[in-house]
Structure formats: C-alpha cells, structure tokens
C-alpha cells in the first residue's frame, strides 16, 4: 500500500499543528463556535447527539495491520473501545472528548493517518473496490488512481469551500463494487482500442433526499488528463452550484438544471484552458505510485488446494462460510476473505478494540499485513492462501467475525441513526437488530440467497437505502419514528434507485413487512432467480400488496411532504 515519503508526512504533521492551534484559539475565545465549525468538520469532528464524533479517514479503505492496531489503541484510550466503519470506508469514533481530538490526530499521524476532509463541503475520502488488486474481473488496479486523487484533493486551495460535500469513487472491475454512479463523480477505468488507460466519467450521482444516478459526461478521458479534467468539473461546480439552499447544493442539482449536455459543454470549455498544463500526469508518476501497490510476494500454489477442498467436504459450517465469505482471487491458490461485522445483536459495521487486534493479527499472519474496509461495512483480508482458510475461519469465528452472511439479508448497511446521530429522524440500529432477530436462521437466509437490505435513519441516506434491493428509511412524523420502504434498488453496473412501496410503517411492523416481501419472492421465484430478478420480472405490485395486506388501517390518505420528495425524485 501507499507509504508516505517525508513530504506527505510533513503535510500531515503540519495539519495536526494547525488543528491544535485552531482548537486552542477556540478554547481561548478567539475563534467562535460558528467559525470553528467548518474547520473542525474538515478534520472529521462532528458534534452529535451525545457529544463529539470523530471520523477518521481510511483512504480507499486500505489499512495496514499496524494502523489497525493504532485504531484499536486509540479507541481504547480515547473512546469506549469500539469503532464504526462507514460507507466511505472510514472509521467513526462515537465517544471521543472534544479537547482530546488534537491528541488523537497526532496519534493517527504517527501511523500515516488523519481525519482530513472526512466532512465539510470539500472533496471527501476517495472510495473504491475492496478487492482492488486481487479481483479476477479487474482491468487494472484502481488504487494508484485513488492515491493520486487523494493527494490532489488534500487541501486543494480552490475547492475547500464548495457548495456542498463532494464524493468520488473509482471502479476498475467488470462488476462495479464501488457504486460509482451514486457519487458526485464516478470514475470507471477502461482502456481504449489502442490499449490506453483512461476513464469513463460519470457526474451528478448521489443519494440523499434527491437520489440520482450519475450521468456520463465523458466517454473516454485519457488518464494523464484526470486531474485537469476534475479541476474543470470542480471549478464549474464551485462557481455555479447553488449556495442558497443546502438541499439543492449538490452537483447533481446543477447537472440536472443545466442538462448533462450543457454541463458537459461548460466543463469542456473550462478544460480547454487547463488541459495539457502542468497538472497533466506523466506516466512516471503513475508508475511511482503504482510501485506502492505492487503485488505481494504470492507463492506458486496448487489451485484449488486439495486440503481446502477436503475441509469443505468435511465441515458444513466451514463450507457455508466459504460460500458466503470467501471470494475469488486472481492468483491460483489464494482467496480474498470478508470478515463479517454483521453478527447478530451487533450494530452493523461496529468493531471492538479486541476485534481490531484480532483482525490485525490475522492480517499479519495470513494476508501480508494489510486489510481493507468495505463500503458495506465489513473487513477484507485480500490475500489468504486457500490452505489457510480453515484456520482463518476458526480464529475469526472465535472473535465473532465469521458470520456466514455476506451478501445475505442480514449483511445490512446501516447508519448509526437516531441513537447517535444528531441529524437522524429515527433510529436505525434497533431496526437492524429486529431484522437480525426475525431472520436468525442461517439456513433460511441461505435459501433466500443474495439480497441487499440497507437502512438509513434520515433523508441524508448514509445507509445507502436507495441502492438496496430492500431499503428502509427512517422518517419522523409528529415525533414518532416511522419507516418508509423502497424496493428494487441495486448496486453495481446495473445500479438503480429503489421505488417507495407506499406509506411508511411503525418500527414494530418492519420485520414482518420484510418477511412479507421475502415471502412473495420465495413463492414466485424461478430456480435461478435472486430477489432482484424476481422483482424485476413480476414488478412491484405483488410485493406492495403483500406488504400492506391487513394494514389498511394505517394507510394514511395522503403521503406526507417529507416522503413526497423521495416519491417524486
């Protein structure tokens, strides 16, 4: 993975000093609460329902074992011994002390980490495929491009105060595992007919209260132009994006208002002044960064490994785990492993300090000392020998990291919700727990098969409910928590925004409504269909009808305004 040189380190160290001084000026009364706010947000510090929350950047999800050990230590020393992984592949600490945050940033800097631009109206953490570099369906490793973008976006002087936050994701695989079309800019690595590497560029995607998929703004951008072209997009957005209404300030609204053709024309016009300038990236720089992501010293191994096959044969529980949590690797004899952070009764994406140490040890022993955070809020060991999988499973299981539910109904993406987040309209973790309780039989979950269920506690959609096969959104009606359900959303190359099935439900109804949706699928499916396939074939109506069967008394005549925005989006 990328390692800092002395300049990278100096920049991060100076950032810590700057933040320490800002906090000192604030505590001395020289910097007001309002003046500090954007500054602390650009260092990941929020003020939440119960106090501060610190969001630590994990650039494109890559962590070394040493970094994870440091996170364990920080969570124990400055928090309550638990961290929460987010859909931007970051980690949130929910209980730090306000005054101690400069110390935490200094600790992070000691392991080449920071909390730079994890919030605020600036370019946020760049995200990508958790299987980058090992996926068999990959054109090229996307991480060098992510690192280039990390450096470009870090303290970009022109774009630190954009109209609104700005999210970029990069995909290089046949299957888009980074949901690039749900981003302000989505970059799809492709090669042209002469083998030149470049990008298909999507712009104006985003979830939130007006969910939209990104639109194609450029069919092929040679990689050397990446930064100047992004400068052009960001400049058009910085100058002309709306600043009068924060709900209409994302770039998607500008793209929608101008139309993609006119937006593209403005970007091309701006770019005509910038292209081929000093920001053009030479091949040598791509090569320099790519060296940091050189493949680890993989061994020549038999594939499939016979001992591994025997253990699958002999151990049904292990076989189930392999089926759900072990993924193909481009190198014979290796596999990628997802350690599930979706054990029953645990808030999705939460990891304790003890588990962090256990994962760090697993990475050191079995996966070249590195790991990745997934946007689905799990952890991946990317380079495990097939012959070691059984041992990895046993160790992971002893730390409750081997729930065999990856891709299944209980592998939910879930935001912290009303229990912790000041923005939330409703709690999301208790809903996740209720769904876990209702679907606690693994065999039944296997029978249901691949289905995504995501939960957001408010319209900001941190839980990505719009792109789930089944999405749950918390809404507040007269101080009561209600939940609106969407179906038909999808990630990947076929990304789609789910449709609202109708008026929202009480919290207590949600598990049975989910069960009703699943029942329709089980009754209607053909042998090869996943939930989403059946839904696409038979349409939303049968699901809707079953979900509301016997619930008419709670069906209000009119959808309330808050819901209407999504219905109309």
């Amino acid at each position: 993975m990328y390692r800092y040189d002395s300049t990278d380190q100096q920049i991060i160290d100076q950032r810590v000093a700057q933040y320490r001084d800002q906090m000192a000026r604030h505590l001395a009364g020289e910097l007001s609460t309002d003046e500090l706010r954007p500054l602390r947000l650009q260092n990941g510090l929020y003020i939440q329902r119960h106090g501060p929350m610190l969001r630590i950047a994990i650039p494109y999800g890559m962590l070394s074992a040493a970094q994870l050990r440091k996170l364990a230590e920080i969570s124990r020393r400055y928090d309550r011994g638990v961290g929460h992984f987010t859909t931007r592949q970051n980690m949130q600490l929910n209980w730090p002390q306000f005054e101690e945050t400069p110390e935490i940033l200094a600790e992070l800097a000691s392991v080449e980490m920071h909390a730079v631009q994890t919030s605020g109206n600036c370019v946020r953490n760049i995200t990508t495929d958790q299987f980058a570099g090992v996926a068999p369906d990959e054109l090229t490793d996307p991480r060098p491009y992510c690192e280039l973008l990390r450096q470009w976006s870090t303290f970009h002087p022109e774009f630190a105060f954009l109209p609104r936050k700005f999210k970029i994701a990069v995909n290089a695989a046949a299957q888009d595992r980074a949901v690039i079309r749900a981003h302000d800019i989505g970059l799809d690595l492709v090669s042209d007919d002469r083998g030149e590497i470049g990008f298909r560029v999507f712009v104006g995607g985003g979830l939130g209260r007006t969910p939209m998929l990104g639109k194609l703004v450029r069919d092929f951008l040679p990689r050397r132009h990446l930064l100047s072209y992004l400068d052009a997009i960001l400049r058009v957005y910085n100058r002309y994006g709306r600043r009068d209404n924060m709900y209409k300030a994302r770039i998607k609204i500008l793209v929608q208002a101008l139309g993609i053709e006119e937006f593209a024309r403005q970007v091309e016009e701006e770019w005509s002044h910038l292209r081929d300038g000093p920001t053009t990236v030479p091949d040598e720089e791509f090569a320099r960064i790519a060296q940091h992501f050189s493949p680890p010293p993989w061994e020549t191994l038999p594939s499939p490994d016979p001992a591994h096959l025997n253990r699958i044969e002999a151990d049904r529980a292990f076989a189930s785990w392999v089926k759900r949590c072990v993924h193909a690797h481009r190198t014979p004899g290796y596999a990628a492993v997802t350690l599930s952070l979706k054990a029953p009764g645990v808030a999705p994406g939460d990891i304790t300090d003890g588990q962090m140490i256990a994962v760090a040890e697993l990475a050191e022993r079995f996966s070249f000392g590195e790991l990745r955070v997934t946007h689905e809020q799990n952890v991946v060991l990317a380079d495990v020998r097939q012959r070691d999988l059984h041992e990895v499973w046993q160790i992971a299981r002893s730390h409750r990291l081997a729930t065999a539910n990856i891709g299944l109904l209980t592998d939910m993406i879930c935001c912290p919700g009303g229990d912790l987040c000041a923005l939330a309209n409703a709690r999301s973790i208790p809903i996740a727990t209720a769904v876990q309780d209702r679907f606690d039989d693994l065999d039944y979950l296997y029978d249901i098969g691949d289905v995504s269920l995501n939960i957001s506690g408010c319209m900001n959609s941190c839980g990505h409910h719009h792109v789930a096969n089944i999405g749950i959104l918390g809404v507040d009606k007269n101080d009561e928590e209600w939940y609106q359900i969407t179906i038909g959303g999808q990630q990947g190359k076929e990304a789609a925004i789910g449709k609202v099935i109708g008026p929202s439900f009480y919290a207590q109804e949600v598990p049975e409504v989910i069960a009703a949706l699943i029942a329709v699928y089980l009754e209607q499916r053909t042998p090869s269909e996943r939930f989403i396939d059946t839904l696409q074939r038979i349409g939303i109506e049968p699901f809707k009808t079953r979900a509301y069967a016997g619930r008419d008394r709670r069906r209000p005549a009119k959808v309330d305004n808050r819901e209407k925005e999504v219905v109309n989006a």
Binding site: Q18, P38, P282
Partner: protein
C-alpha cells in the same frame, strides 16, 4: 488608517470599498475622493468617466460575479478585490485563480469581506496577495495563517508545478 496584510507584512492602506446603499444606482452614485474599490456595476456603467479621471483604479467582485466582465481591462486596475460574503463561500477562490491564470492580472488581488486567518493559506495559493482581515480579528496573529504548510500537492498560482512534477525533478536530479 486601516491596516491590511499585503504579501506577508502588515501595512497601512487607504483604499475604501464603495458599496451601493439603498436607492443608489451605479450611474448616479457619488464617487468618493481618494483610492476607491468600485463595485463591478459602477465600473461597467461609468468605465469611460473613471478612466478619464486619471486616478489609480480599483474594483471589487462579489462572489457571484466572475472576472469575465473585466477580461479586456485587467491592465487598467491597480487593485481587484474579491469578496467573501461568508468565509464558507468559496467562489472567490476560483475568481482569483482565473484573474491570475487566465487573464494574467499582475496587480494586487485583495480579499475583502469575511476574511479570517484560517482561509489565508488557500487564498494565497489562489493568487490573492492582500488580505483585508475582518475588523474584529487580530491581524498580527492572523499572519501565521499564511504559512501553515510548507509543501503542497497541487499546482496553483503560488506554485505552478504540482508536487509530483517537483518530486520527479528531484528524483532525476
């Protein structure tokens, strides 16, 4: 006399910012004696009269007013100010860069409005070289805001080459 930061020093400065009060129009507003930063609308309405006056000319752009309107005239201005109505309004960073990089304005670009210590570094990088700090802030202390980082990744006005080009030059030297 009011004090501003110019380059890296604190200096006395008597440019006044003219704003149109309720009921005043660009065509009719009285132009005060002494150096004055004119609203863009006044410059556009009375360009010939102002040029004929023979005094050093200053103008200020609000954050929604791009520098395009000044494009053919930049050589006429001693000072172009860019306004930050709120420090979280980042449009004037783009305006400043465009003035320098596209219109090759060589005079002073001054930040006015909600100008605070923690924005100075970015402003300097975008080509702003004078800073009228918000009046209630300690200007001496704010000077430190210009030199927070000793190295930067991106190309900008203060550093025409991105770090990767300079790293490369070092590596091959």
């Amino acid at each position: 006399m009011p004090r501003i930061i110019r380059n890296t020093s604190i200096v006395e400065d008597d440019w006044q910012v003219l704003t149109l009060a309720e009921g005043e129009t660009p065509a009719a507003v009285a132009l005060p004696a002494g150096p004055v930063l004119l609203p863009l609308a006044v410059w556009l309405a009375r360009r010939d009269e102002i040029i004929a006056g023979g005094r050093p000319i200053g103008v200020w752009l609000d954050s929604h007013e791009g520098p395009e309107a000044l494009a053919g005239d930049v050589d006429r201005f001693a000072v172009i100010a860019v306004n930050f109505p709120k420090f979280t309004d980042g449009r004037s960073y783009s305006s400043a860069r465009l003035l320098r990089e596209r219109y090759h304005f060589a005079g002073e670009i001054r930040a006015i409005g909600d100008v605070l210590q923690d924005q100075l570094f970015y402003m300097r990088r975008c080509g702003i070289d004078a800073y009228a700090l918000r009046a209630d802030k300690d200007i001496d202390r704010a000077l430190a805001g210009l030199s927070v980082f000793s190295e930067t990744y991106q190309a900008a006005v203060d550093q025409p080459y991105p770090l990767f080009r300079r790293r490369q030059a070092q590596g091959s030297a």
